[in-house]
């Protein structure tokens, strides 16, 4: 299968960033349609589409949309939040979506507000993404000036305000409860989750009902409302339970790195082919969904079909779609050492398994990489990953443990060789040199 450009159809058209260009390509027809129909039928369309959260977890989107209180007699505002804190190493799809198609996101969020009674929206963008923030700013200003945002949207009698909130460089804020903490002006640390406290759809930002979705999820909404959920569900129909398109950010040792939008059901090998094939050597490994998913070897890559359940069967996950291909000159131990360094740096420090565990894994991997590995180090690493996985407060602990455990399972000989001989099996040098 080739690329299937739905969200990215007009991504290379600079006119698409302006309201005029967006309207010329059929923009805002979904919103006009949504104003005429009851809110519940928008949610029903999303349900029929089979859309699942594109941020990594793959949670059915309609359940979130359906979870907000239907009547607003509680007197609180409903908040619509967009998670644009894209920090997963290897992922850069949201950045391009915001820079090239800002109106898709604005319209998608407005549709979510129409469906769930939203009053105020926040787009939480990471602080580094200034080009994305500027593009969105311009889009929001234009939408306000032309009645697509603000009071009485297109004469519907509904109001929706949209603000940008910029982060300041914390990976942890991509986790939804930490993101809410960050918007409320706190340290970006995760909070207790369901079932210990109500879901964010009941009690989120400032204890008000809050809907949180990824950028790509909101961008799908205009197409679903416009063409119907049943049409959207025909995309990716060959897979078990994944519908629509997914953007994969391909990087690493490939000839044409970049974002590729594909239909679910495409194989990973086809994705590699689209991105120009391997550079500087043959395929050795692939991290298909951002740094936190388990690494795959060439055999697994050749068999893998892209779909939430299918990738799980193949030994990894779709995740956020940050696909890194590595050639045969890459030392997996050094690569995993850098992954562990990332999680040790980004652990927020709230809970012990993650705060201490990520540092221990880093210490052990560091001594292996420096050639001072000791016998039993690999077993010790495996043991630590088991102590972190499922025992931490939020998903970051699991995300830190999976790549290490996965790499040891898939490439045990590299770890053993490095520990025994104090050097890399493939003789590569990807570590920090002494000054």
């Amino acid at each position: 299968m080739a690329e299937y450009k739905l969200l990215f159809e007009h991504a290379h058209d600079p006119e698409f960033k302006t309201l005029k260009g967006y309207l010329a390509k059929g923009g805002y027809s979904a919103l006009k349609k949504a104003i005429g129909i009851p809110a519940q039928s928008i949610i029903d369309e999303v349900k029929a589409s089979g859309l699942r959260g594109r941020g990594g977890a793959g949670f059915p989107t309609w359940i979130k949309w359906n979870g907000l209180p239907k009547d607003k007699s509680h007197g609180k505002k409903h908040y619509i939040v967009c998670n644009a804190d894209e920090g997963e190493p290897g992922t850069f799809k949201d950045k391009q979506l915001m820079e090239a198609t800002p109106f898709l996101l604005v319209e998608g969020m407005t549709l979510a507000a129409m469906a769930t009674g939203g009053d105020v929206g926040f787009i939480y963008i990471r602080g580094e993404f200034l080009d994305a923030a500027k593009a969105l700013r311009a889009a929001i200003d234009e939408a306000y000036a032309n009645g697509y945002l603000g009071q009485n949207i297109l004469g519907s009698g509904k109001n929706f305000d949209l603000y940008i909130h910029l982060g300041a460089g914390s990976y942890e804020c991509g986790e939804e409860s930490a993101l809410m903490s960050s918007i409320m002006g706190e340290r970006g640390m995760p909070r207790l989750k369901f079932p210990h406290v109500p879901l964010p759809t009941i009690s989120g930002l400032w204890d008000s009902p809050t809907l949180i979705n990824n950028v790509e999820t909101y961008c799908c909404a205009p197409f679903i409302v416009n063409k119907g959920g049943a049409w959207y569900a025909t995309l990716g129909a060959s897979t078990k339970n994944s519908r629509g398109t997914k953007i994969f950010s391909v990087s690493g040792h490939v000839n044409k790195p970049g974002n590729y939008e594909i239909e679910f059901g495409t194989t990973l090998a086809e994705l590699l082919e689209m991105s120009g094939g391997m550079k500087g050597g043959s395929l050795k490994a692939c991290v298909p969904g951002g740094s936190s998913v388990p690494i795959m070897n060439a055999d697994q890559v050749n068999k893998a079909v892209i779909g939430y359940e299918e990738m799980w069967d193949a030994g990894s996950m779709v995740g956020s779609g940050g696909c890194m291909f590595l050639n045969d000159k890459t030392c997996i131990v050094q690569f995993i050492w850098r992954t562990a360094l990332f999680y040790a740096n980004e652990s927020c420090g709230k809970c012990t398994p993650c705060r201490e565990g990520t540092k221990w894994m880093l210490q052990i991997l560091e001594r292996i990489v420096e050639g001072n590995g000791q016998e039993g180090d690999v077993e010790l690493l495996m043991d630590i990953t088991k102590q972190i996985d499922g025992r931490s407060f939020c998903g970051l602990g699991d995300a830190a443990a999976w790549p290490v455990a996965g790499a040891i399972k898939v490439f045990p000989e590299e770890f053993d060789f490095y520990v025994k001989n104090g050097k890399s099996l493939v003789n590569s040098n990807l570590k920090l040199l002494p000054v």
Binding site: E88, L130, D141, S182, M184, G258, T330, R338
Partner: protein, 228 residues
């Protein structure tokens, strides 16, 4: 047990700094921006992050204790709370003052496999500083950062509001040369962008400013020729 109760009732509760305790003063523009930001949120606490961005721009990219106290005073939160937030986020420079240009080198996975470590070594040697240090002339600060999420352009550097990539040694030479000769302050440029994006179009205050923004004159976007 009774001792604890006593301590709690005797000790002063954390309180916001008072006006006479401040050593710095926001410019009129910054105050206007902060007031506009406050309209986005239901409470003042939520404006701590954007408030810190404004302070970082006001004081040349460095959030000193005095700058944090200023934000705490404006938002009526205790100093400890605002400092706690500021030190959590890596983009607030609370540890040391920074140079005119901050070069942030991404060394995360995709950049690692595309050879950023030898390149970082080259930049360090060229500037004669290590990660987290500033050159003696106060021109450059070098930072190592986690994934900048532009992995298709690996290896990537960020200077001010701009990404540079893919970068090689010749590109670094040109970039540093151009930064040396430009009078743009890229450190405050970045925070300035963030504040502008959050507040939207803002009319500059018409009354003569008693304390003008120090970097107001030096704005603009730096162009580096990618092809040489």
């Amino acid at each position: 047990m009774s001792e604890f109760v006593q301590l709690g009732s005797v000790n002063e509760r954390p309180r916001p700094p008072r006006a006479d305790e401040l050593q710095l003063q926001f410019s009129d523009l910054a105050i206007a921006e902060l007031n506009q930001l406050l309209t986005h949120y239901p409470d003042k606490k939520s404006a701590i992050l954007p408030g810190l961005w404004i302070a970082q721009r006001e004081y040349n990219g460095y959030l000193s204790g005095e700058a944090i106290a200023e934000v705490a005073y404006r938002l009526e939160r205790s100093y400890a709370e605002v400092e706690g937030v500021a030190t959590f986020y890596s983009m607030y420079n609370t540890k040391h003052a920074v140079g005119q240009h901050m070069i942030e080198v991404c060394t995360c996975l995709s950049c690692q496999v595309c050879g950023v470590y030898p390149l970082a070594q080259y930049i360090k040697k060229k500037l004669g500083i290590n990660f987290g240090e500033t050159t003696e002339d106060g021109m450059f600060t070098l930072h190592e950062v986690e994934c900048l999420n532009a992995c298709d352009r690996a290896p990537v550097l960020q200077v001010g509001d701009q990404y540079h990539g893919p970068v090689d040694e010749a590109y670094v030479d040109r970039l540093i040369e151009q930064l040396r000769t430009s009078d743009v302050n890229t450190v405050t440029q970045m925070a300035d962008c963030i504040v502008k994006v959050q507040t939207g179009p803002l009319t500059e205050p018409t009354s003569p400013t008693t304390n003008p923004t120090p970097t107001a004159a030096k704005r603009g976007r730096l162009k580096v020729d990618a092809t040489g």
